[in-house]
């Protein structure tokens, strides 16, 4: 026997035709497959909820589809209700349009500064700070709009009502800003360097290059960012519910009270409307309208974003549709260019430089003008970014000043009494913690399983492409729609009632797409060579994933999961229908009713007594601290794993 003793191994005897993959592996793979397919169920649930609810709504005698679509009055209550969607729609458009009118230019300018002018040190600080704006729960924005921006607005415009569209728009501008900034920034960054150099080398100033070359080249990405911002603004619930009022307008006046679609849906949840009436079921019809709107906006934007990610920002090839149109229009009109002998002879004619078009005497003044324009432009971009910073700092300081006073040990831990002074967030705090843990339990296995299936096991078939599409669409569904789904499916259909279980499942539905995306990113960061190496020594697909991919992706997956949980804990709209505002004790079981921090904040903010507003601030402070801790943990894990990473 030689040094390499190959005589007596078991492996050698195994016939090549024998399948290595055992039954257990097949079970695992099919489990993963099922996990990924759950998203289809979720989508089906959403459609079922909305359609079923709408059918119920349209079956009421007082309601007709015609009136719903084309009626111009929305009076859901009273003896003679009228359900014309127009006022809700126009209010939604007013809010979303107003928001994007502000957030678009500010966001694009800030992105321009970040990508073109900011030194890398500034950029490294500024971008996370802007993204911090996205991490603040919408309920906090709503509170800020009502109690801080509101008085300012009323001071400037004395005719403004207590609830008005403008204050919501102002706050939502900064909510939407991170979306616009980060996607615009990505697409500006994706503009190839040589394009900028071409412009600079011709004697364009940096500003001219930015405006005339870089922005047009990134136009598709920028418009996608704006569209995504619009989708976000359309779907936003809490800010408008808190700050914009509850009277549907259709008057296009931002200084008056309005009620967009989301706000109406939220209103049906807050108990002012008796269930079983057309007024309550109208929420589903409004919900489906909202769903369709956001679906299309997201869809268009998503396609553009996908194209940017693939790196083809400058389209060279016209699309099939464009080709078809061109073939049938322009090309028919225009004669094909005949190639003449003259065209083939490319020999340059004598270059005569005595012909001059440029008047050199005027160039100096012209240059000074252009430079001033440039300085002015760059200052605007800086100002946009500064504005975002100021807003963030103002918000945090306000919350802290208002809230710090109400925080005490009793406020955090004692059981709330009935008097104002006995307010406590104990039930909400424990409710939120339980909610979070349960959500984690439901969402993480589903999300990670789906991600593993997509990234490691699935082949590129029509079904996986379909699943991907479904998940991408789920990520864009407004949170209030999930609230409706939770209500219809978990509370009513599954008969869980307004329980912790129903609430956490609803939240799990909402954050699952986020966990999928972040987990996939973590999996993708594991080098392909690891997989090849494992497969090369004969590991099966699942063995490879289990032993080599997952262990290396775990920090990333944990980070992503924590971040999406922090999103869930701050959400109000999905559990608006399920949470019990008046719960005085911590939930004792999964079927118990519960209240969560954002719900408490919402409830207190709408309370007539001013003291409760202080308590709301305190609760916000606690919520923000919790979010901060969660984010810090996530960042710490990411940092540590990146430091330890050896590849």
């Amino acid at each position: 026997m030689g040094f390499f003793d190959r005589g007596s191994t078991e492996l050698k005897k195994a016939p090549l035709t024998k399948k290595v993959a055992k039954l257990s592996e097949r079970v695992v793979v099919s489990t993963l497959f099922s996990a990924s397919s759950v998203s289809v169920l979720i989508s089906a649930a959403i459609l079922y909820t909305l359609i079923e609810g709408s059918i119920k709504f349209f079956n009421f005698d007082e309601v007709s589809i015609w009136d719903f679509l084309f009626g111009s009055e929305w009076i859901p209550s009273g003896t003679d209700p009228s359900f014309g969607i127009y006022p809700l729609l126009s209010d939604t458009i007013l809010i979303a349009g107003g928001t994007i009118l502000l957030a678009g230019p500010i966001g694009i300018a800030a992105a321009l500064f970040l990508s073109e002018y900011a030194p890398s040190k500034v950029r490294n600080v500024a971008k996370p700070v802007v993204e911090l704006l996205a991490g603040i729960p919408s309920i906090v924005y709503g509170f800020f709009a009502l109690f801080t921006i509101g008085p300012i607005v009323r001071e400037i415009f004395p005719e403004a009502t207590y609830f008005n569209a403008l204050q919501a728009i102002i706050v939502m501008t900064f909510m939407v800003l991170p979306i616009v900034v980060s996607i615009s920034d990505d697409s500006l960054k994706a503009v190839p360097r040589h394009m900028r150099e071409a412009s600079l080398a011709m004697g364009a100033t940096k500003w001219e290059t930015s405006i005339k070359v870089v922005i047009p080249a990134a136009a598709s990405g920028i418009s996608a960012s704006v569209l995504l911002g619009v989708a976000r603004a359309i779907g936003e619930t809490m800010v408008v519910t808190l700050a914009a009022g509850s009277i549907s307008g259709g008057h296009w006046n931002p200084l008056m009270e309005i009620q967009p679609m989301t706000s109406f849906i939220a209103q049906t949840a807050t108990g002012d409307i008796p269930p079983g009436t057309p007024q309550a079921e109208a929420a589903f019809a409004v919900g489906i309208t909202l769903f369709i709107m956001t679906y299309f906006v997201n869809r268009i934007a998503g396609r553009v974003v996908l194209r940017i990610k693939k790196g083809s920002i400058v389209k060279k090839e016209p699309s099939r549709v464009q080709k078809f149109i061109r073939k049938n229009t322009i090309d028919r009109i225009r004669k094909p260019v005949e190639i003449t002998k003259e065209m083939i002879s490319y020999r340059p004619i004598r270059i005569d430089r005595s012909i001059k078009f440029i008047d050199k005497t005027k160039l100096k003044g012209n240059l000074i003008r252009r430079k001033i324009k440039g300085y002015f432009g760059v200052s605007t971009t800086v100002l946009s970014l500064v504005l975002a910073f100021v807003f963030l700092i103002y918000l945090l300081v306000e919350v802290f000043i208002k809230g710090a006073g109400s925080i005490s040990w009793d406020f955090l831990t004692s059981e709330p009494g009935f008097r104002v002074t006995e307010a406590s967030i104990m039930p909400a705090l424990t409710g939120s913690v339980f909610l979070m843990l349960l959500t984690l339990l439901f969402a993480v296995p589903l999300g990670v399983g789906t991600a593993v299936y997509f990234n490691e096991i699935a082949k590129d078939t029509w079904y996986t492409r379909f699943l991907r599409n479904v998940i991408q669409n789920l990520a864009g569904v407004p949170s209030i729609v999930f609230g409706l789904v939770g209500l219809a499916i978990f509370v009513r259909l599954f008969n869980f009632g307004p329980s912790l279980l129903a609430g956490s499942m609803t939240l799990a539905l909402m954050i699952m797409p986020i966990i999928v995306v972040s987990s996939e990113e973590a999996l993708k960061s594991v080098p392909q060579s690891f997989r090849d190496a494992a497969r090369g020594v004969g590991a099966t697909r699942w063995q490879t994933v289990r032993d080599h991919v997952l262990p290396n992706a775990v920090p990333g997956i944990i980070t992503g999961s924590i971040l999406s949980l922090s999103r869930a804990i701050g959400e109000t709209a999905p559990i608006l229908f399920i949470g019990a505002f008046f719960a005085k004790t911590a939930p004792s079981g999964v079927m118990d009713s519960f209240v969560a921090l954002p719900l408490t904040i919402f409830f207190w903010s709408r309370h007539a007594q001013d003291e409760y507003h202080e308590f709301a601030s305190g609760a916000i402070l606690v919520l923000l601290v919790i979010l901060l801790i969660m984010n810090a943990i996530a960042i710490f894990i990411r940092y540590r794993s990146q430091k330890r990473r050896v590849w």
Binding site: M195, A198, M202
Partner: protein, 281 residues
């Protein structure tokens, strides 16, 4: 090329002989339009990329920089119109004298400078606009708004770049639809539109096929009658075909600079000879 050189060597024996032994440089004559580089040092975030380069780029001639990749020839070229200002962490010292000014001085505005010293890049980089707008971009920046005048500029620039006949019927089509060679000539036309005096070319043919390359080379040959052309190329044959003067650079240093024929026929430095005969490293 080699044959051409041989026969010409035979025909005008006496004349050529004298010329060959002339010292390098612009036949001794100095013009203020020459670009005189003095002690140029360029650093990328502290690392020296160009070391003590001294040379005179003569007016209305084609000057080529050759050398292995990473030797700093593009870096040096980009300093002539201060494109290096746009790169974070790039610093330089020394002087570049042109028309009586040191163009590296802080008070010289790179924006104004770049109109006078245009540049063409390695990859054809038209803007994603129409052919017309690509050319008119520069003049518009300079404040020309008159449609008729713009049209004239576009036509003249395209004619000068030998592209007019090929594109005159589709000026309003996207420039992205042109072939690589046409795109590069469009970029040259675009550079010509702002009436520069010097044209820098950074490997303008490296992304093109031989036919397109030949067209660009013809164009360069024509351009040098009116413009000073500085070209970076990694194609030695190209340098020998089109340039009047050649500088060989290695590891950031200008090893040898002289008339192209001298560099390729009888290089003074062993390093140059080893490089051009492919016996490097």
């Amino acid at each position: 090329m080699v044959f051409g050189f041989l026969s010409s060597g035979n025909n005008k024996k006496g004349k050529e002989r004298k010329k060959l032994h002339d010292s390098s440089g612009n036949n001794g004559k100095r013009s203020s339009n020459d670009i005189i580089l003095k002690d140029i040092n360029i650093f990328y975030s502290g690392k020296q990329a160009i070391k003590d380069v001294d040379m005179t780029i003569p007016e209305k001639k084609v000057t080529a920089f050759i050398g292995p990749s990473g030797c700093g020839k593009s870096t040096l070229l980009r300093n002539i119109n201060r494109m290096n200002d746009e790169i974070v962490g790039c610093t330089y010292d020394g002087e570049i004298l042109w028309q009586g000014t040191d163009i590296l001085e802080k008070k010289v505005d790179p924006v104004a400078l770049r109109r006078r010293i245009g540049m063409v890049f390695q990859k054809p980089n038209p803007f994603p606009k129409t052919i017309f707008d690509n050319i008119a971009y520069g003049p518009k920046l300079l404040g020309i708004r008159n449609k008729k005048k713009l049209k004239e500029i576009v036509e003249k620039s395209l004619r000068d770049a030998a592209l007019w006949n090929e594109v005159k019927d589709r000026l309003n089509d996207s420039a992205m639809g042109l072939s690589g060679g046409q795109q590069q000539r469009l970029c040259i036309a675009r550079a010509l539109a702002v009436e520069p005096d010097v044209i820098l070319m950074d490997e303008p043919c490296s992304a093109l096929d031989p036919i397109a390359t030949a067209k660009i080379e013809d164009l360069i040959n024509e351009l040098k009658k009116e413009y000073t052309v500085v070209i970076v190329t990694h194609n030695m044959q190209q340098a020998s075909r089109i340039s009047d003067f050649t500088g060989f650079m290695y590891l950031g240093e200008l090893i040898e600079f002289g008339k192209t024929r001298q560099i390729f026929e009888n290089p003074k430095e062993d390093l140059t000879e080893r490089y051009i005969t492919g016996r490097f490293g």
